[in-house]
């Protein structure tokens, strides 16, 4: 099956780690890159948090992020490989990557309860931002049916992770 390149306009903005990406054009190959990068950023944060978190619920959440996002990424990479497409770097994926790096830099300077709070707070913002992008840009924009189906299939995980992160956040504030 030939991977069909299409273009779309990101109408909204993707804000992760304090930076924003405004309107731009992306195609299916770029969407694939955004998906892979978004997952990888959360895997990296989760791996780091798993080693540094002090609260057991925060560590459990971090481990879950590594497991779930690794599985989603495997499916995304498998799909891209099968469709013979190379995920194409773009401003949104670059922004996600730099947002992830600045988040890690910030987290590396924190310990104890302050670390737990900062990690979880970022997880809430990250999942909300990615979910918005999935709903407003990625699902409506994806033209390849299999890519669209993968996005639809993984969407509930982002919703559940967001709720989970909010729950851990409220628990930490008590």
């Amino acid at each position: 099956m030939k991977f069909k390149l299409t273009t779309l306009v990101i109408a909204g903005s993707l804000v992760v780690g304090g930076s924003a990406v405004s309107a731009q054009q992306v195609n299916d190959a770029q969407i694939a890159s955004i998906v892979v990068t978004a997952n990888q950023v959360d895997i990296d944060a989760g791996k780091f948090a798993s080693g540094r978190a002090t609260n057991p619920e925060v560590k459990k959440f971090a481990d879950l992020m590594v497991t779930d996002h690794t599985a989603v990424n495997k499916s995304a990479v498998d799909l891209a490989t099968r469709l013979k497409v190379t995920p194409e770097d773009n401003p949104t994926s670059q922004n996600l990557k730099s947002g992830g790096e600045s988040n890690l830099k910030n987290l590396k300077g924190l310990k104890g309860a302050a670390f737990d709070r900062a990690y979880v707070e970022h997880e809430v913002a990250y999942h909300q931002a990615v979910l918005d992008a999935v709903d407003k840009t990625l699902i409506p924009g994806a033209k390849n049916e299999e890519l669209k189906a993968l996005l639809v299939k993984t969407r509930p995980a982002f919703v559940a992770h967001l709720e989970h992160a909010k729950h851990v956040q409220s628990m930490l504030s008590k």
Partner: protein, 116 residues
């Protein structure tokens, strides 16, 4: 009574006895065939969310998501532990009651098994 009549009566008695035996066996044993109920784990949900079943029935949970889940009763009566993507786990109902269960990895996933 002629020999023929005697044979006829004996025949009727045998047929009636066999019929009675068959009937009583069917009623006495009354084996209710256990039912296997299917629950899909998909889109971070248990579908259906409520399953009603009788003791002796089974539930097969099949993980259709991309990542692992568990089927863990809050009461501790059953726990699948990790069910990998694409795999299934079966539980045979042994105890009456209402059993709320969750995925221990994803606390937003909740469902109930009602065993009568």
């Amino acid at each position: 009574m002629t020999r023929l009549v005697k044979l006829e009566i004996a025949g009727v008695v045998i047929v009636a006895a066999l019929a009675l035996l068959t009937f009583s066996r069917a009623r006495g044993a009354a084996p209710v065939k256990p039912v296997t109920h299917q629950v899909a784990i998909e889109g971070m949900q248990f579908q259906p969310e409520v399953v009603s079943l009788a003791r002796g029935d089974s539930i097969v949970w099949t993980n259709k998501d991309l990542f692992p889940h568990t089927v863990t009763s809050k009461s501790g009566d059953f726990d699948s532990h990790e069910i990998k993507a694409g795999e299934s786990w079966t539980y045979r109902a042994v105890k009456k009651g209402e059993f709320p269960y969750v995925c221990s990895f994803h606390p937003t996933m909740k469902a109930v098994a009602r065993i009568r």
